[in-house]
Symmetry: C2
Subunit: 328 residues, 2 copies
């Protein structure tokens, strides 16, 4: 936790492959009212970072410069009016950008105490996936204990988190993945059924298992109709990304007849107040699961901040299981 005079951050020089990422020097930011300055221990690498690197996901207005949506670290300065945090506290934070850095400023409402029992580097991989799964599966999807969650990409950061949180909640979980190793990981994390989508038709398998009540989808494309076809009456299908594209040919008849809800959301552009509300709910419900070991950050690999390009090569390859982290 040395205190450099300058702040190294990773920016995207121009849209492109991993090699457009560049470590540059900036002044250490000063926290404004209601903000906290964090000396980062690590930051998480997420799918939206890749899309932003490619030039398709501009940062919302006012976001810190550079890539990166989540960090772990220690509080080093408090802006005006911040209460409930103390300098030196180990924390994790959701940020609207700039997480690939040595220092970042976060709204106090997006900062949570680092959960006990979790390595502080690994904890950097929690905020983005936990906030995303909480709001999409638990709030928007309203998954109840006697229901079934279908999650695609079961070994992605989102997938590993969704499987564990849904199981901690008491629900049944079906996950899809593309290799035997990834299927084994899904099962190890608690998935009741793991489907190799390359070898089996997930729609058929899910229907044979009685259908899904909540479906978390980041695939889009032809997946969406198949989700509709294996959704139970009253199901909620929540799209959080479109890796196969957002254009779909759909027959909405079953949406009407089964009273299905098709919806989706993004996290980054939500107002600070909304993120603070989510953080409070997560602190109350999900933090105990994490501290009890029911939900653990599943880490694929760690890279140095200066080697963010290698981390993105790993992300682009799709071979990772769990989170890729940068140590700051």
């Amino acid at each position: 936790m040395s205190q450099p005079q300058i702040n190294h951050i990773v920016i995207t020089r121009e849209p492109g492959g991993p090699d457009v990422l560049e470590l540059v020097e900036r002044d250490i930011p000063v926290p404004g009212p209601g903000e906290i300055l964090i000396r980062n221990t690590a930051c998480g690498v997420n799918r939206p970072d890749q899309i932003e690197r490619l030039g398709f996901y501009p940062a919302p207005p006012g976001a810190p410069e550079g890539l990166g949506l989540e960090v772990s670290g220690h509080v080093v300065a408090l802006g005006e009016g911040v209460t409930g945090h103390t300098i030196g506290d180990a924390v994790v934070a959701l940020v609207a950008g700039g997480g690939y850095s040595e220092h970042v400023v976060a709204p106090a409402g997006s900062v949570l105490p680092a959960p006990s029992g979790v390595d502080l580097v690994d904890a950097a991989g929690l905020p983005e996936t936990v906030f995303t799964v909480w709001t999409n599966v638990f709030e928007i999807g309203a998954l109840s204990r006697d229901e079934t969650l279908l999650v695609h990409g079961g070994t992605s950061g989102i997938g590993t988190t969704a499987i564990q949180m849904a199981k901690a909640h008491g629900a049944r979980v079906i996950a899809t993945a593309g290799t035997p190793d990834k299927l084994a990981l899904c099962r190890k994390l608690g998935a009741d059924i793991a489907i190799n989508y390359r070898e089996e038709d997930f729609e058929t398998v899910v229907n044979e298992a009685g259908g899904a009540d909540v479906i978390l989808d980041m695939v889009g494309g032809s997946n969406v109709q198949k989700n509709i076809n294996c959704a139970r009456a009253g199901a909620r299908i929540v799209s959080i990304a479109f890796l196969q594209g957002s254009r779909c040919e759909l027959d909405l008849m079953r949406v009407m007849l089964k009273r299905i809800t098709l919806t989706g959301s993004t996290l980054r552009a939500r107002p600070v107040e909304e993120k603070a509300r989510l953080a409070a709910a997560i602190h109350k419900t999900v933090w105990p699961w994490i501290e009890a070991g029911q939900v653990i950050p599943v880490v694929d690999s760690r890279f140095a901040l200066a080697d963010a390009a290698s981390a993105h090569e790993r992300l682009d390859s799709g071979q990772h299981s769990g989170k890729i982290l940068l140590t700051c």
Copy 2:
């Protein structure tokens, strides 16, 4: 209110045009436990009746024989255990079939007192549209007073009811229709903006007016993407029919970015207990609007029960505004 010894009902001889409707004789049904026998004064003609006549909308199991989903009339017999209704009461009822008849049996929970101040023939046009608008716009759509409803087919039975109920609630209403006369009727019923969809692009007009929070759609097809495009952040788009077909090419990106909900429902197949719950909510909230004259049944035309074929010709023509009724 003569009491015939036999019951005349209208059935569909075979799938086809209006001339397949046939008046036949049946025994007067006997109400089972929890059911009420009604001597019908009139019944409403609805779009689902047309689809059923064409052979595409089979009746749910246990539904009374014949077409017709709503009636007005008088209670003539009570099944075992029915309370809160008395023989001779003027009532309206939602039925799962068999409304085109002199007598029909309805579950007691689907029977409401005829609202005061409304002609009992006209009142037959209330249940199907009021239940449909209530559940889709108010419950599923959760329209609030400070929001905007967009309703397509503003002069259909559903449309005229949706405009009036949303205005009685205090919301802003935008309606679409296809002729100057129909636009004038939308405005007369309270629509703040009426759009001629043949001459103007409704997506553009709605966006210029600030967008819609709840959209009630019975068109489907290319309308769905346009609904998505003029929906406000957090909007709910509810499909209740697909006159242009249920197959759509959609780009779901805006559904995710604007956190839109695409959903839909049908009324007929819902369990009796669910309809009773809806009836109680409607009696509490919508009946006062009707009795205060804020929501009136808009009647296009009346035909004799034996002339149901002419009523269906009128429905098929699409020239009607408001409800078509059969007098029993």
